[in-house]
Symmetry: C2
Subunit: 215 residues, 2 copies
DNA sequence: TAGATTGTTAATCGATTAACAATC
DNA sequence: TAGATTGTTAATCGATTAACAATC
């Protein structure tokens, strides 16, 4: 086990993209230096938390009084998150959600390049969307193996998710971003990141009923 | 302050929809009783965690040896999350993502009823999608006030998100589900739930580079 | 210098996991 | 009865926040 990198808490990793988005917008404005308290104030976060988060990924660190060099900090975060080295991905399920993700330009800045879509609908197979070809699910294994694709995004209906997942595993996919509301069963070496819309909805729903209670 | 309800941890609230989805699938299979260890095993969670989570929302509790009555447990979770009382919502931004959410049938089971879409694109205004009318953003305030809408979903491009948010606040919206990668500024009484696609992506990206490191 | 900001150590808080008695 | 499961109390773990010395 290497001690090459201090362990950064998962919660910190989750906040880093927020910082990045904010810092990029500041860079657009021509800002040169940025301090943790400034970021904290703008994003409504605790000052110490931001200070620690930034310190954990910044290689050169900040300077008392002036803070961080914005440009360097941005590069450090991008490097830490692996956004500097864009990875190819496929999307399986070219419905509304799949298309939404295929059209999302922002992914490139986050190290993700969606290169193709897959679907079972024969009306879609062979067509293009957003300049990306749409293939049949049957072609997935060959496609992924030949291009060495490691990331798969699942945007199919819940009923088909496990089946698609199994094909992805056979195709050599190592990381799956799952938008279906299904607990996928995968071998130990496969990473599944569940995108949990219903969890957010639960929090929202709960906080509204709480509001009502406090009348 | 009422002591009517024990406080349930936020993390528990987030897991409840997962339990619910799983339990509903079990109900379909005709299962009558379900135990915490069974759920834990199936969803790859810690047994004690599930036991505590279920205990925190179940009104009648479970029985040693047999576990919970599936049907009752489902109703307890739905009641706790407020899913028994469906709330109307609007979606602003009828692009791919907005349409994906407008077509998502699952929301009704989670207490959410999307009744209309709003957009600035004059080609869309006046049309229908999934049986839901699409209005101009200018009509939002009148619409929401007259129908007493309390929930707004933002699926517009990042640049427009704050502007849309401001309109929603003026329209009397109390809870905002925000899919834009922007930190929205809102009055204290407004609840914002950010749907953070880039946070998930960061975790995914990080875990892949970690894999690579361990070669 | 004075003061804002950094980095780091210590204290607090919340959530997870372990341990165990009670029970059907 | 024996044993699986419950509910609950205690121990552990991880993340947030507070405190503070170092520094530009």
């Amino acid at each position: 086990m290497e001690k090459s990198e201090k362990t950064v808490p998962k919660q910190t990793v989750k906040r880093l993209p927020n910082y990045l988005t904010y810092l990029l917008s500041k860079a657009d404005e021509g800002v040169i230096n940025i301090s943790a308290p400034m970021v904290a104030k703008e994003l409504n976060l605790n000052e110490v938390q931001v200070r620690k988060d930034l310190a954990s990924v910044s290689e050169s660190g900040g300077k008392p009084r002036t803070g961080y060099l914005l440009h360097t900090l941005i590069m450090d975060i991008e490097k830490y998150l692996g956004y500097d080295n864009v990875k190819d991905a496929i999307i399986v399920g070219v419905g509304h959600l799949g298309r939404a993700l295929m059209s999302f330009k922002g992914f490139k800045n986050h190290g993700l390049n969606v290169i193709a879509g897959f679907d079972t609908n024969s009306n879609l197979i062979g067509t293009e969307f957003q300049g990306k070809k749409i293939f049949s699910n049957d072609q997935m294994i060959e496609f992924c193996k030949s291009l060495n694709i490691r990331i798969g995004i699942i945007t199919v209906p819940d009923e088909c998710a496990q089946e698609v997942c199994d094909i992805m595993v056979r195709a050599g996919i190592l990381a799956i971003w799952n938008f279906a509301q299904v607990h996928l069963k995968v071998p130990d070496n496969i990473i599944v990141q569940n995108e949990n819309l219903t969890a957010s909805l639960a929090i929202l729903s709960k906080s509204i009923s709480k509001e009502k209670t406090n009348l």
